[in-house]
Amino acid sequence: MTAYGVLRSEWVKFRSVRAMLGCLAGAVVAAGSYGYLFGTAAAREYLGASAADRAAFDPTETAFRALVLVGVLVSAVGVLAVTSEYAAGTMPVSITAVPRRGLLLLGKGAVVALTTLLVGPPLALLSFTLSQAALAAQGVPSVGPGDPGVPAALLGAGLFTGLIGLYGMALGFLLRRSAGAISLGTFLLILPGMASLFPKPVARWIVTWWPSAAGARIFAVHPGTELLTPLAGAGVLAATVLVLLCAAVAVFRGRDA
């Protein structure tokens, strides 16, 4: 029972679950279409804005907004890596093959993290390119992928999606049911989008500290001082995912298979 063997074993399982491939395909569609739509909306806003607002316009702000929605699908990939086993009833067989449950979880985590990490930058590039194209099409200022700060954001997308994949996997271990884990995972991810429904101080807190909002700071090309820096934001998300993973290990070890 080597870590490498467990990793290969988990990869064989991973590639045969079609729903996960569907989610990854969906992530491509979401990154492209939302990237374009957010770009178009930003362009419209720019054209109707005052000269002062136009001067403050940052074309990179809209470039990665689609990634939060992409995150919903990426987290579903993590969820399904676990819940597909519970649904098919194969978890007991998997555990008899690898009774060290921490190692089993680690192997699954490595496959989920690697896959979701690798799809992050291409998805971010897709969203970036289409959003900037939408801006340029209407004569609004736009930037290229090589502009200062942009390559870092593109690569950072891998960190973001990788962490979100693990976040989904942890929820999968904690809840064991696809529907429950995906619903909860989605709700928690998009909560910052509903921040304006809350009283001002709460909304402020959510936008700053809520893990998915903090994690999205990874994409901030011009971070400013109001919110967390990209590094601190990534740290908040990573710490949250770590806590969830620890909970998942404890629960997975402790209960009957």
């Binding site: 029972m1 063997g5 064989v12 007991p92 998997s94 093959a97 009774p99 060290r100």
Partner: protein, 306 residues
Amino acid sequence: MIELRQLTRRYGEVTVVDGLSFDVRPGVVTGFLGPNGAGKTSTMRMILGLDRPTSGSATIGGRRYADLPVPLREVGALLDAHAVHPRRTAFDHLLSLAYGNGIGRRRVEEVLGLVGLADVAGRRPGGFSLGMKQRLGIAVALLGDPPVVLLDEPVNGLDPEGIRWIRTLTRSLAAEGRTVLLSSHLMSEMALTADHLVVIGRGRLIADTGLEAFVQAAARQGVLVRTPDARRLAPLLRESGATVRPGVDGGLMVTGLSGAEVGGLAGAHGIVLHELTPRRASLEDAYLELTGDSVEFATSAAGVVS
């Protein structure tokens, strides 16, 4: 060798496995019997480290399952044949389990051939018949060529050819010196397959004995007598200490006397016998007699009427 020591599992107030202690020895097929809900599957799951015992222990060669360095090379198990991902091919299903235990593709192919699934290796088990799924489950159990094999109702859903195949397989595994624990509700099949029996009821040990000894100890052996003069013979038999019950179609079931004694008694009184057959009790008779008190989900004719 599998060792159970005071193995106990409770779910809240309910004790599902209750202080089980027995050994499963190598070189023989040990049949694991008990009524529905007796705790056979629960016991096997604890042996495999899937469920945690409330108290007591289950070990394999002295080690807990979770401590086995390469478990599939030491223990192979079939618990639930339906536990396959419907879209993962038979080959990938086995391969995913093999990789974790340092077993390669060649052994996967070999074991697929062994269970007769070589032709459908690349197909998805979603469309498999129950029998094919059972064979895939057996392939999982044999994957690591393990010295200890646990099979929970492996013949469930198999056709006669498949049932015979399991019988031959388990017997040859035992003949090779492996430890084989096999549960089944098919008594006729168990009688042909097992050398040793462990019988449990409501989580408790009822018997741990050889097959022959079990049948003889539990069930009454008898002699079936057919005679045109039953009215005279029956009282004579009773006087000699036998128990006489009406047998099938006019015969008498005599217990407590041997066939020779019955024949001698009839001859001494000039009674003509048409048949004198020793009746060996079957495993099923013995089993039903022994577990009668511990059947949890009994059917009763009276219950249907009232």
